[in-house]
């Protein structure tokens, strides 16, 4: 990927994929997310930036209801994906998570072979009728994860034996294998070296063609490099949301400017 500066980015308007309205999250007594409204577009990389503890990861985890797995966490408000409220009681969070894939901060391949790691989701959701189809899905996903060439000769080797960057790309391949529509990434590069980071960033840019990608990052350079839209969170509030070029060059809110120039955070 070329070093595109934030300014050069052209923003074409895509249709809205996720629309969040008045989202509030409480962890026990603490109010982690306060009245967040955001529209996330399809075929776009949206970056969430902000200082540690600002709630960006929490908000990300609302989008696939991963917060449901935390007992004390309470989410209110309205989040719609393709016009359907994902917190509607009729929505099965398990099905939702197949549609909204997630990649975590630390690469977390299962203690299984590379093949089984990628085949995990398709098997659970019955996406392949037979072995040949499954093989095809695995290969396609590994290619999408830009790791096929490196692992094609050792699909039976344990996924945990790969390097950190390879593991993270394996996790991305694993996430795309269930054919999600949205891909959530929670600081996917924070545990990786610069070379692996560059590979992942390149991959994210390609993934944009097929998915709506939401990425949480601590690195503002990364946000500037990979995203078209950026949301700045501060103390649980969504302070500013807009085109990445706009946010990084001409922020409207003084807090955004302070953060970007390094005065807070």
């Amino acid at each position: 990927m070329n070093q595109i500066t934030a300014l050069d980015k052209t923003v074409q308007t895509n249709k809205t994929k996720i629309s969040a309205r008045n989202v509030n999250v409480h962890y026990g007594d603490s109010h982690a997310i306060k009245d967040v409204n955001v529209e996330i577009e399809d075929n776009t990389v949206t970056a969430f930036i902000g200082p540690s503890g600002c709630g960006k990861s929490t908000f990300l985890r609302c989008l696939n209801r991963m917060n449901d797995t935390i007992d004390i966490c309470r989410v209110t408000g309205d989040i719609q994906i393709d016009g359907e409220n994902i917190y509607d009681p009729r929505v099965d969070p398990v099905q939702l998570r197949a549609k909204v894939g997630m990649v975590f901060q630390k690469p977390n391949p299962f203690p299984k072979s590379i093949y089984d790691n990628v085949a995990y989701g398709p098997r659970i959701h019955g996406l392949a009728a037979n072995k040949a189809e499954l093989d095809e899905i695995v290969e396609k996903s590994l290619r999408r994860g830009a790791i096929w060439e490196e692992v094609k000769d050792r699909l039976d080797a344990p996924g945990t034996g790969l390097s950190g960057g390879q593991q993270q790309r394996l996790c991305i391949a694993r996430a795309v294998a269930t054919e999600p529509e949205v891909l959530l990434m929670d600081e996917p590069c924070s545990a990786l070296d610069p070379i692996a980071t560059a590979q992942i960033e390149e991959l994210i840019d390609e993934l944009r063609n097929s998915y709506s990608v939401v990425i949480v990052t601590h690195s503002m350079q990364q946000a500037a490099r990979v995203s078209q839209k950026t949301a700045f969170f501060h103390l649980g509030n969504l302070v500013e949301f807009g085109a990445t070029g706009q946010i990084f060059t001409n922020p409207e809110d003084p807090r955004t400017e302070s953060y970007i120039t390094g005065r807070i955070g």
């Binding site: 197949a98 894939g101 997630m102 975590f104 299962f110 995990y120 659970i124 996430a175």
Partner: protein, 492 residues
């Protein structure tokens, strides 16, 4: 000087050493703590330990070795004719020791003077009556030879004790002097104390290991005695267990091993699924309040003494099973399959209950050790909780769980009280779980309780059984470790 006072003296020396060593160190630094290499207390500890540790070690070893050395000397004095009259030399030496202790007691209580005690004549004085008045009961009238041996025993003990006291105190003083003389502000007392601490820890670790080795050897020697008296073929490959205290018994381990393994198998069939599922519920599903309430409750089970489980087997589970499988037309099933409360099933069920907390608390720890990232990864792909448990958490935790199961198995094989009370006493091969059977541990108990003669194969077989049991459980534990190690690398 008795060892008690010796120890007091040593401790006093050590305390003095602490104070003096500390003082001297400070004095060499001109009272300025910053000039010292180590904190003043380290110099004190250095002197105290130098005085105390070698002296205590010598005291301990000496006290252990002295009696057997003296008995060796004394046993030469006992005429061979005594040994042949059906007494073993050990019994005679016990008499000698008792007599010697009795005389010491008589002197201590003032019934005899030191000189009188030394000049006693078995022919003229009724020593048995004399000592009996003082509360020392002797088994038989005292023969002159025994008296002579006892006098010699007393003399030797006396000399040895004096020598012991002298050597120990001298050693303590030497250690004290050496350490005190080395104390100087540049002396690295802290490093020396550090090495001392390490040595202490090494000693503790080796003691634990040496004890195990000691146990194995004592079992091994008695087992060898047994195999000298009884054919090893019958023991390992015979088919019947019929001890007969008139001699000529069939002592085969196989029926007992069968009973042991059968009961353990049933116990594991109960304990592993229930324990594992309980662990999965507690670690994966239960909310924090439920968990904090249920886990200790489950662990209470582990604190119940096994004899109580035995009672439970005998009084509750056994009769309940009889109501179901026995009693003919009065029973639940209307069958007559079970006659008594003791059976393989009774013991197996109760032992299984006993093992539940063992399996569940080990598995719970292991399941909790699986990184949360694994669960998140699986849940994030749209797996349900049970799919996550089955396909990600359990495979990752499997080596540990297998280890836990094998540990439980070795507990089951070695368990005694429940089978003594619940399994019965009939050694046989049978696949019917409603019959009573017996196990290795039960037979060890029954061979060694009551009046026993440690020279007959019927008694000594207990050691061979014990050794086999030990080898069996050791094998299981080694296997458990091997499995855990082999598969762990894959998941790290």
């Amino acid at each position: 000087m008795p060892s008690f006072w010796l120890v007091i003296v040593l401790i006093a020396l050590a305390l003095a050493g602490f104070v003096l060593g500390r003082k001297r160190a400070l004095a060499t630094a001109g009272g300025d703590m910053k000039q010292l290499h180590s904190l003043p207390a380290y110099y004190g500890h250095h002197v105290a330990f130098s005085a105390l540790v070698p002296a205590l070690a010598v005291l301990a070893i000496w006290s252990l070795v002295q009696p057997s050395l003296i008995e060796n000397r004394v046993s030469d004095m006992v005429p061979a004719s005594f040994v042949e009259e059906g007494h073993t030399i050990d019994l005679i030496l016990t008499d000698v020791r008792r007599l010697a202790d009795g005389l010491d007691a008589a002197v201590a209580q003032g019934a005899l003077s030191e000189a009188q005690a030394a000049d006693l004549d078995a022919g003229t004085t009724d020593i048995r009556a004399l000592l009996g008045d003082l509360g020392v009961a002797l088994g038989a009238d005292v023969q002159p030879e025994i008296l002579a041996a006892a006098q010699s025993y007393r003399g030797l003990s006396d000399t040895a004790s004096t020598a012991k006291a002298a050597v120990v105190i001298l050693l303590a003083l030497l250690g004290f002097g050496f350490a005190y003389q080395r104390t100087h502000k540049d002396f690295r007392a802290r490093n020396v104390v550090e090495r001392g601490v390490m040595a202490l820890l090494i000693v503790a670790a080796s003691l634990a290991i040496l004890t195990t080795v000691g146990i194995v050897f004592s079992m091994l020697f008695e087992s060898l005695n047994f195999f000298g008296l009884h054919s090893w073929r019958d023991f390992f490959f015979g088919g019947t267990w019929a001890p007969n205290f008139r001699g000529d018994s069939d002592l085969s381990i196989l029926p007992l091993l069968w009973g042991t393994l059968y009961i353990s198998l049933i116990a594991l069939l109960v304990a592993v699924p229930i324990g594992l599922f309980a662990a999965i519920y507690l670690s994966e599903y239960a909310s924090a309040p439920v968990r904090s309430f249920a886990k200790p409750l489950l662990e209470i089970l582990a604190g119940i003494p096994t004899i109580v489980y035995g009672l439970f087997a005998l009084l509750t589970v056994g009769p309940m099973l009889v109501t179901i499988f026995g009693k003919g037309d009065d029973g639940v099933l209307g069958v007559e399959w079970m006659s008594g409360a003791t059976s393989v099933l009774t013991a197996g069920l109760v032992m299984g209950i006993m093992l539940i907390p063992f399996v569940s608390s080990l598995s719970d720890d292991i399941i909790n050790a699986v990184p949360q990232a694994m669960r998140d990864g699986s849940l994030g792909l749209g797996a349900t909780r049970s799919e996550t448990v089955r396909q990600v958490v359990l495979p990752a935790a499997l080596p540990g769980i297998v280890g836990a199961v094998l540990l439980a198995a070795s507990r089951a094989i070695g368990e005694t009280m429940i089978v003594v009370m619940g399994a019965g006493a009939i050694a046989k091969f049978s696949a019917n779980p409603l019959e009573s059977m017996t196990t290795i541990t039960t037979r060890i108990v029954s061979q060694l309780t009551g009046d026993t003669d440690f020279a007959s194969p019927e008694t000594l077989v207990a050691f061979a059984l014990g050794l086999t049991l030990f080898v069996l459980t050791l094998g299981l534990n080694v296997l458990a470790l091997y499995i855990v190690r082999t598969y762990r690398e894959q998941y790290d």
